[in-house]
Every structure is written in C-alpha cells, then in structure tokens.
Amino acid sequence: MGDILYNLMLGFVGCFQPMNLILLVAGTIIGLVVGVLPGLTLVMGVVLALPFTYPMEVTPAIVLLTAMYVTGTYGGAFTSILFRIPGEPIHVPLLWDGYAMARKGQPAKALGWTLYAALFGGLLSAAIMVTLSQPVAKFALTFSTPEYFAIVLFGLTSVVSLGSGSMTNAFISLFLGLLISTVGVDSTYGTPRFAFGYPILMDGIEFLTVMVGAYGVGEVLTRLGQGFTTVPVEKVASMKTSLPGWKELRGLKAMFLRSSILGHIVGIVPGAGATIASFVTYGVEGQYGRRRKELGTGIPEGIVAPQAAATASVGGAMIPLLTMGIPGSGATAVILGAFLLHGIQPGPQVFITSANMVYTVFASLFLGIILMCILGYFAIKPLVKILDFPEAVVSVFIMLLCFIGALSIRNSISDLWLMVAFGVVGYFFDRIKFPIAPLVLGTILGPLAETSFYTTMISFQNDWTIFFRRPISGVIMALTIVALILPMLKSFQTVARKR
C-alpha cells in the first residue's frame, strides 16, 4: 500500500507539470461542453479529441482524454435538470427525478445533489481504482492466452447481453465487427484476408476508422435525416447550484455509497459503461430503496443514484484497460487507441515500465473530478448557453473533425473513404435497430480474441476444453455462459407472461 501511495503522490506532482495541467483543465472544460451538447455523445467527443493528441507525449494525451471522459458523465446533468434535454443517454434517469425536482421549484437543489453525487461517486471510484489496479495487474501477470481469450469473450458477450433491443441484432453486429478485424494480412500465416488486392486493406482496417465513422458520421447523418430538429430551450429563472446541507447528506450516506460502488462494479464489467451504470442503480433504488414508491416524483435518491454511478463507472472502466489492455467501453477504447498510437500497450507490464505515467493519470482523475465540480458550480450559465448554437453549425464541425481524424490515422485518403463507408453503415445500423457498440467493440477486441484463440489452440494441440479446465479461464467462461443465458431466460419469461 505504501508504494501505491508514494506513486500516487508522484502522480499528483506530475499533474502539476504545465502541459499536464493545461490539458487537464482543457479536457475538463471540453468534457463539460460535450456533455451539455445533445448532438455530441461522450464517446464521440473523446474520438474527436484523439487527433489533437498526436503530437503530444503519452501522459498529457491520456490526461486530456480521461478528463473528457469523466466530465462527460456530468455535463449533461445540467440540461437534463433544467431543460429536460439529456445531453447524454446517461442522463435520461435524471429526467425522472431531477427535472421533476426542478419543476417543483428546486432546480438549484437538484443541481446541488448532482454535484455532490458526481463528486462523491467519482472520488470514491478513483480511490478504489488506485487501490485495486496494482494487485489486479500483478494477478494479470499470471494470465496466459486461454485466460485472455476467456476475458475478451466475456467482454464481448456482456456488450451483447447488457444492450437493449434485439440480442440477435447485437450478435450480428458483433460478428461483423470481429470480421472487420480479420481484414488484412493474418499475423500467424501471413495470408491476406479480404483485402481484394488493395494495399490499405492489406494493413487492416483501423478500429478508429470504424469508430469515427460509425459513431461520428453515422450520428450526424441520422440527425440530418431528422432535419436537425432541436428542442426549443425553455426559459429558466434560476441557474444556480444550491448545495444540500450536512444533515440532508447524512440521511443519504448509505445510498451514496451503494450507488457509487455499484457504478464502479458496472464500470469494471467489459461492455457496460456509464449509461448502464446509471440505469442499473436507478433500477436498484426503484426496487430496494427506502423511498422507492416516491421515485420519479423529484426526490434526491433519484438524482444521486444515477449520477454517482455514472461518474463512478469511469474509475471502474479504467481498471481492465490499464491492467489488462481490455477496454470495457467506447471511451476507454479510444483511450486504448491513444496508448497504442503512442507506442504503449496497456497491461500488467505498464505498471512496471511506465508507473509514473499510470499514476499521473490516476492523480489527474482525482483532480479532474474536483475541477469538474468547481466548474459545474460556477459555470452553469455559460455552459448551457452552448445549447443556443444551431445544430447545423455544431454538426459540420463534428463532420470535419471526423474527416481530419480519419486522415490523420495513417495519413491516407483511403482511411477517409473507409470512414465515410462506416458512417453510412452506422446510419443504416441505426435505422434497422442494429446496435453500434458491439460492432465497434468487436473491431477493437477482434485481433486480441483471434490471436489468443489461435495461440491457445497451437499450444494445447487444438484442445478447446482447455478454456474450461484451467481455473481462472474456467470461471470466466462460466460467467460468460451465465451472461448469455440470463437475458435469454428473461426474454423467454417475458414472452411466456405475454401469452
């Protein structure tokens, strides 16, 4: 524990280096703006910031993206509470109680609860992250390819089973994503696969191209198809934050703790992110909360639970990313991309080779959360002013940042073409209700899944039962099966009940 604290202290010192500090502040502000804008999701925001990080050192680059990630879980709360416009899907639960509290004449109080929830959830989760990361990384050093394959499979399965909508569609989307990752020269045999003789395809399809296209361009095209219809913003008398008193806070301390820990755990699960954390904790409050019957009428529990969980999920999601190199969510996938672009492969080794960088990122998360809450307290007015920007203007900037992002991945115009193609695919996926997250996660984790599968098969003479016979991979495979079967059972139950 002593060396963790010592490293963390060095991390705080690292955060105050001018470049890191500037980017921490910039990331916090941009993250809040991204959170406020309804047309710009958190993942899109982080994706669009990626090209800016190319000339930076790895530490400030990751500090910038992580600050954006964590503040993106908070910014949308303002517009949800004040105007009933969720900047992010994360903040939909805030419409039910946050907006209701605002309608009761207490918008400042609702904003105060959100601030405390984000602060508490974020800091607690960051503390858990720091405590757990090093032991988890040490444990991960014992992993071999069967364990890695089992973890990746679990992550891919959870993204399918945790998503809303048709599971079959999610599976098709996932398989297509995994298939995209097979394009190019195969690493084991050197065989070109699905390259059709194009040199750019021989090098494979970069997951960032898929991500920028499907999330960025696809989303803008969807909104353009709806004519950029922005909901008119109503006038709000008070745009202040009023912090709840100590007595009020003490009454809800167990709920703060419960929601933050649950949010952190959901964040660790690959495939689940802030949105799922926010909905799950709201659901838990609805099922088991002391005032569950009043939920939806504008009570603090309905505000604190989703917000604390959403912000807490960030610390959770950073653990598998840093300790095993497995991104659990869209935003952490982009952060993984930034690591790889800077020549660093996250995983257990990174705690030995780049401990200073890791702990600076950890420390920046603490500082970012505090800064986010300070800005949230003082800068609501200018932040919500952003909603006045016409959507067409914001969207054209998003499109152009997507173009530049694609162009700068490999300095190739072919990537721009691929990105446009994936943008159109993203649009059609949205139309036919195919989720995009499994496609993107499949593209990202595909190479790791395939390599670890092949290596295992070669090492263990094609004995696939090895995944179930080794203790760690066996447990993870069992979890994978449970993650698959549970939603199926649930859907059968629903069908049976309807009959």
């Binding site: 079959t168 098709i172 298939l179 067409a392 203007v393 530049i404 162009l407 195919f434 395939e450 098969m457």
Partner: protein
C-alpha cells in the same frame, strides 16, 4: 402484413447473402498450415457461420412465427402523432451523404482548405441554417481555425490539392505563417 414481414426480413437476407459470398472467399485463402492445425480461414469462417445462423434465425422467426397485428384506429393515432413529431428528411440525408462522398473524392484535388470551406458552407445550408452572413463567417473562420490547429500546432499532414488549387492552399498557408 406480408409486406411488413418482407421489410423486416430484407436486412437479414442481405447480410446472409454477403456472408455467404465472404464465406466462399474465405475458402479461397492460400496458406500452408501444418496438418491438424487451424488455418487463417477458420476464424473468419466461424464468424461468418455464426452470422448466417443468426440471420437465418431472424428470417425464420419473422417469416414463420411472427404475428403482426392489423393496425387498429386507436393504435394508429399515437403512432401518427409520434411520426409527425419526428419528421423525416430523406432528401437532406441523401444530399448529406453525397456531399460527404464528394468531400472524400475532391479533397486530394481541391486541397483541404478549399474543400473544407465549401463543405462548411454547403452543409450548413443543407442543414436548414438560413443566415447567409453567419454561414460565410462560420465557414471562413471554421476553416482557418482547423487549418491553424491541425497544420500549425498538431502537424497533421492534410491534402494540399493539385494545381491550380494548390496555389490557393499555399497562399492561405503563407498568410497564416505556416511553412
């Protein structure tokens, strides 16, 4: 009802056919694997097989088992309301896609600066933004800001264009002090 079912099935049929074609392509990979070892075609074939199974499942489920209730008046009313609220603009979408493809096509010829300026202005117009001066100002300022950030600060190599358009690019770069 048959039309509704067909509409739901079409995407799965398309994906199924494309998967079949790619499965055939995967069978054509040339490699020399040790006997008994899995070749580079195994993984893509596995994925394509699973995709086809999922598509077939959806096709059979929809075609054989899905019962689509005939629309009643009561059900139609809120749906119609929701539809009118969420109006679709397919024309704008098509123009948006064409413009985006055109950007990718022309950016090497016209160069990043000219192409971006045109895209800025046209996209705002297509996006039903109707303030000519604001469009002009946003396009000019937006293009210059992106050029300064990405060519001067971030050092991203963006297309300069071909003659005579590259002349405009170099002129603007000189004005901005970018070498």
């Amino acid at each position: 009802m048959a039309a509704e079912k067909a509409k739901r099935i079409i995407p799965y049929v398309i994906i199924l056919l494309v998967s079949l074609y790619f499965y055939y392509l995967a069978g054509q990979f040339r490699f020399s694997a040790k006997p008994g070892n899995l070749g580079p075609d195994f993984w893509p074939k596995l994925l394509l097989g699973l995709t086809m199974v999922a598509c077939l499942y959806e096709i059979i489920k929809t075609a054989v088992f899905l019962k689509i209730a005939p629309p009643t008046e009561a059900a139609e009313e809120p749906a119609a309301k929701a539809e009118s609220k969420k109006k679709a603009y397919p024309g704008l979408l098509v123009i948006g896609i064409v413009m985006t493809v055109a950007y990718a096509y022309f950016v090497t010829t016209l160069g990043f600066i000219i192409c971006t300026f045109l895209y800025f202005a046209l996209f705002m117009i297509v996006g039903r933004y109707r303030k000519p001066w604001a469009i002009m100002a946003n396009s000019v300022v937006g293009t210059l800001v992106l050029v300064v950030i990405f060519m001067k600060i971030v050092y991203v190599s963006l297309p300069l264009g071909q003659e005579p358009f590259s002349g405009v690019t170099f002129f603007v770069l000189r004005m901005l002090g970018i070498k």
